[in-house]
């Protein structure tokens, strides 16, 4: 349907590496927040691509820009520079029809199960909303049928007993399932999941993670999974991007990153994780300094804290470099 416009776009950006199988691609996306003298780059020249059918995790601490990245990806946020492509079309330049396809084809699962459902709307109202907008051809009973099917899919069974329920009556885990049903009902190509389990109890969170995994395989969508936590990120995603102060400092296969991190910051995150078996004996000697705004940083964003810092780290910015197959790091002196 979009063959024509697609080709046109491809010609325009032929200089950059265009792969026909990318669902989403960020190119030098920058988002700046200014408040008085403080300039903060929530996203600082971020580039990466999400391939069809894969899940990529964006991992970082609070203030790393990972949530901003998700908002930009779903086009709920304006950015200052750069381009985001959805199936090789720049999102900002979509025409009406394409925009509709983008909206229907990219959905989000939110962090807060208590805030993401309107308390005055029933489960049916919440889940059916995308169908109302994008599938006006469906009759009322067809829509209800679709919603029932979707509720069953996300494990709210029997669906009949949940469909007319209001959020008040549902537990956090059940609400999150409703959110997932709403996000998936249009069978989107892209799902952005912003810490979907961080507000749930451990045992509930594991069921939601398992569910996401199954749905991913069954419905074959691509996912941008945003998390502050490396273990769940590794569990759900094949690739991983580590963010620090608005920049991607390391990107690559999840196993490769977890097993042998190349960036000192990634290593710091890994060694700081609490571990049930206390097997994590390795320690990194860092000077903690979190009150940094990256507006004025010339060099590496981690330079002030890095135990391995050298002169040029403060002077010039390291770019993402390929160190091994599918593993890139933005560090002059990557760990070995």
């Amino acid at each position: 349907m979009f063959a024509k416009s697609e080709r046109k776009v491809e010609e325009n950006v032929s200089s950059s590496s265009v792969s026909g199988t990318d669902v989403m691609r960020f190119e030098n996306v920058t988002k700046i927040y200014k408040s008085g003298p403080i300039v903060n780059y929530a996203l600082d020249d971020v580039s990466f691509s999400l391939r069809k059918g894969e899940t990529i995790s964006i991992v970082g601490e609070s203030g790393s820009g990972k949530t901003t990245l998700g908002m930009a990806a779903i086009n709920l946020l304006n950015y200052d520079r750069g381009t985001i492509y959805f199936e090789n079309m720049p999102v900002k330049k979509l025409n009406r029809k394409q925009r509709k396809k983008f909206r229907a084809g990219s959905q989000m699962i939110f962090q807060d199960p208590y805030g993401s459902l309107n308390p005055y709307n029933s489960v049916y109202d919440s889940v059916v909303a995308p169908l109302n907008s994008f599938r006006p051809d469906l009759s009322r009973s067809q829509k209800r049928e679709e919603v029932l099917k979707m509720l069953d899919k996300v494990g709210l069974r029997p669906a009949e007993s949940y469909i007319d329920e209001f959020p008040k009556k549902l537990s956090g885990g059940q609400r999150q399932r409703v959110s997932i049903a709403r996000a998936l009902i249009m069978r989107p190509e892209l799902i952005i999941a912003d810490e979907p389990t961080s507000m749930l109890d451990v045992s509930v969170s594991s069921t939601v993670m398992t569910l996401l995994n199954h749905l991913k395989e069954e419905m074959n969508f691509s996912m941008l999974y945003i998390s502050h936590e490396l273990a769940t990120a590794r569990y759900i995603s094949e690739r991983m991007a580590v963010m620090n102060l608005g920049r991607i400092v390391e990107i690559g296969g999840s196993d490769s990153i977890v097993d042998h991190p190349l960036h000192p910051y990634t290593k710091l995150l890994l060694t700081s994780m609490p571990d049930v078996n206390n097997s994590n004996s390795e320690e990194m000697d860092v000077t903690l300094d979190f009150d940094i705004y990256n507006g004025g940083i010339k060099g590496c964003s981690f330079a002030t804290m890095c135990p391995f810092v050298r002169e040029n780290c403060k002077e010039s910015r390291p770019e993402l470099n390929k160190v091994e197959e599918d593993h890139y790091v933005a560090c002059f002196y990557p760990l070995t």
């Binding site: 229907a104 309107n118 995308p130 008040k168 549902l170």
Partner: protein, 297 residues
């Protein structure tokens, strides 16, 4: 901390409270809003059938002056022999009509402006809010007095003046509510569901501000009745109209207090007070009920 979860079995047993019970029923279950509603219904009843129940016409002046309550004149008579009861029965309807009309006009304008301004933001917001600011900084009552003095003294004039002066406040209240609602994730989810701005306002936001609108309608109605009484008290507006305000005006100018004619002052005075209390009761009852419905209390 406790009770964040509900048993699944329980869900099936109880069914959706929010869905099955309509708002009016819940309002009637709550003691406060029930009391308020009952008072409203009584006044509405008086307002509608009052003129037919009145033993004398409002223009009847056959009674003795300043006569205390008797069998012939249950609430006595005033300075030129009007029957006070008849004046009250006829005046209630007029007062309520003025109050309700003012409330409905200002709520309609205020809600639309507040919703649009809060949701769309940007230029729409700036433009609308400058208008609101100008209207809000004008000193209300003096302006009311001046306008009433220059415009033809009819009830319609009073209604229009009061409505123009009260909607800006209403729009501010609604706007601030919408601004906080807009940040909640479910609005973002609605945007992602492809809903248009107006759809989001009416399907997602309106239900949240509805209690606020209802409460303010009631408050504005009472405030307008008081304001009309206040204007009349100063001899402004249509003094030939029979309502609570003009009753009090004539009682004041014709020295009801000096003649100890309490029966003349009490009915409209008490009515205004009772209506005010009823509005407050209804308001707090509605807040409780709607909070319970959304599970937010």
């Amino acid at each position: 901390m406790i009770g964040n979860y509900q048993n699944e079995t329980e869900i099936k047993k109880k069914g959706g409270l929010v869905g099955s019970e309509n708002l009016l029923v819940s309002l009637f279950r709550n003691k406060k809003s029930r009391a308020g509603l009952i008072v409203f219904v009584i006044f509405a009843f008086i307002g509608i059938v009052g003129p037919f129940l009145a033993p004398y016409s409002a223009s009847y002046t056959g009674g003795a002056n300043f006569q205390p309550p008797t069998n012939a004149h249950l609430l006595g008579t005033d300075y030129i022999g009007h029957d006070v009861l008849s004046w009250f029965l006829v005046g209630t309807g007029v007062s309520l009509y003025v109050g309700l009309t003012v409330a409905l006009i200002s709520v309609a304008i205020g809600s639309i402006v507040g919703l649009a301004s809060g949701y769309y933001g940007g230029i729409v917001d700036s433009a609308l809010m400058r208008v609101v600011d100008i209207l809000l900084i004008l000193p209300g009552f003096p302006l009311l007095v001046i306008l009433s003095a220059y415009l033809p003294p009819t009830n319609t004039t009073t209604i229009l003046i009061l409505a123009i002066l009260s909607w800006p406040f209403m729009s501010r209240v609604i706007r601030s509510q919408v601004l906080t609602l807009k940040e909640r994730p479910f609005i973002k989810a609605a945007v992602l569901s492809g809903m248009s701005g107006s759809k989001i306002i009416f399907k997602e936001i309106f239900k949240h501000v509805m209690p606020l609108i209802a409460i303010n309608t009631v408050y504005l109605m009472v405030a307008a009745i008081v304001a009309q009484a206040g204007l009349a008290f100063f001899g402004l507006g249509d003094l030939n109209s029979v309502n609570w305000g003009t009753s009090l005006y004539w009682a004041q100018t014709e020295d009801a207090v000096i003649y100890n004619a309490w029966w003349w002052i009490v009915p409209p005075g008490i009515s205004i007070a009772v209506l005010g209390i009823a509005a407050n009761l209804f308001g707090s009852g509605l807040t409780e009920v709607s909070g319970e419905k959304a599970g937010e209390i």
